[in-house]
């Protein structure tokens, strides 16, 4: 197993960890953080897999995708946080409540 594969597997692990946290936690801030961790996992997979073979130059296409992806992830996070604040101001708490449970 070369370093690229190691980091790619770490990325897969981060993705699954984030998905777990996204499903389990009900607080919206935790959900937003979880989505960000999932995104970081995907970026790590892409960056690691770009240079799989030691003697080859890195594949520039995944790198370009990650660069734009990071900036888009920042803006999506900002939008999500704003939505969360709106939910918090409307309902008084930053969680999504299951209507059926009430």
């Amino acid at each position: 197993m070369n370093p690229a594969m190691f980091f790619a597997l770490i990325g897969v692990g981060l993705f699954c960890l984030g998905l777990f946290s996204l499903i389990i936690n009900s607080h919206l801030l935790r959900k937003i953080l979880a989505i960000n961790i999932m995104g970081s996992g995907v970026f790590l997979v892409l960056v690691a897999l770009a240079k799989r073979a030691e003697n080859m130059p890195a594949d520039p296409v995944p790198h370009a995708m990650v660069i734009t992806g990071i900036v888009v992830a920042i803006s999506a996070t900002a939008l999500a946080l704003t939505l969360m604040l709106r939910v918090a101001s409307e309902t008084g708490h930053a969680t999504l409540v299951d209507e059926a449970e009430k």
């Binding site: 520039p60 660069i67 900036v71 900002a78 704003t82």
Partner: protein, 257 residues
């Protein structure tokens, strides 16, 4: 920073129990969910891990395609060539996504939800001096990153992020831009990148027949123009996203970097 204050309030609720009538029942339900979820997620992790491990030893086709066409790209760094030339279409859409996110944040208008007054205090001597020293340096780093993108890691997105960071630093230190500049000039800067992308797309469609297919001789020039405006737009958009409140056109305006 208004955003940050409110987010801190929300973060304080993190450890409060979930809004639910019977907490004991919800704990049981959560435990059940975890037990149900773990095998599913482990299966997913195993599947994804297998997919990663079973990839061919070397990436096929795309790297060769990029390297073979580098002489036509107008720059010598492959990532920049992919971003601004070969896959310029993607970057155009990314710029539009950024703008769209900002418009959505602005239209949500979280000013209404603000119930606590913000602490207003002058920054300390150290913060004030450091900000004054760092801002020119950060702008210089922005320019360097923008320029070096042609032949080394760097480019519009990195430079724009650094520019946004300097804007955020200024905002946190309490520096404000005058209302006159946030009304119309700010919006011009925000749309400069995407609109230049669209203008160049239309021009290349008309003269070259393909979207964002630059003439080989002028490719470098096109990329520099696009990257410069994209850097300004990205920096301004990210800083404006950090504030999270639409600047008022008239009096009592908020600010950007």
């Amino acid at each position: 920073m208004l955003l940050t204050c409110n987010i801190q309030q929300c973060a304080m609720q993190l450890d409060e129990p979930v809004y639910c009538a019977n907490t004991g029942n919800s704990m049981n339900r959560k435990l059940f969910l975890i037990i149900l979820l773990l095998p599913l997620l482990l299966t997913l992790a195993a599947g994804l891990g297998y997919a990663v491990l079973s990839l061919p030893e070397q990436p096929q086709y795309l790297p060769e395609l990029v390297i073979d066409n580098m002489h036509e790209s107008g720059v010598s760094h492959p990532v920049t060539a992919v971003l601004l030339n070969f896959r310029g279409y993607d970057t155009l859409l990314e710029m539009v996504v950024l703008l769209l996110a900002l418009l959505a944040v602005w239209s949500l208008d979280i000013t209404a939800s603000r119930n606590k007054t913000r602490h207003k205090s002058a920054p300390g001597l150290v913060l004030d001096t450091l900000t004054r020293l760092l801002t020119p340096v950060l702008i210089l780093v922005t320019a360097y990153l923008l320029w070096v993108g042609a032949h080394a890691p760097g480019g519009a997105f990195q430079a724009g992020s650094v520019l946004a960071a300097s804007g955020v630093l200024l905002l946190l230190a309490g520096w404000r831009i005058s209302d006159k500049l946030t009304a119309f000039p700010l919006r011009i800067i925000l749309i400069a990148g995407p609109s230049m992308f669209i203008i160049i797309s239309v021009l290349t469609m008309l003269f070259e027949g393909h979207l964002l297919k630059y003439p080989v001789a002028q490719a470098g020039l096109f990329i520099v123009i696009l990257e410069t405006l994209a850097t300004l737009s990205i920096g301004a958009t990210l800083a404006a996203l950090f504030i999270g409140v639409r600047p008022k056109e008239s009096n009592k305006g908020r600010q950007h970097e």
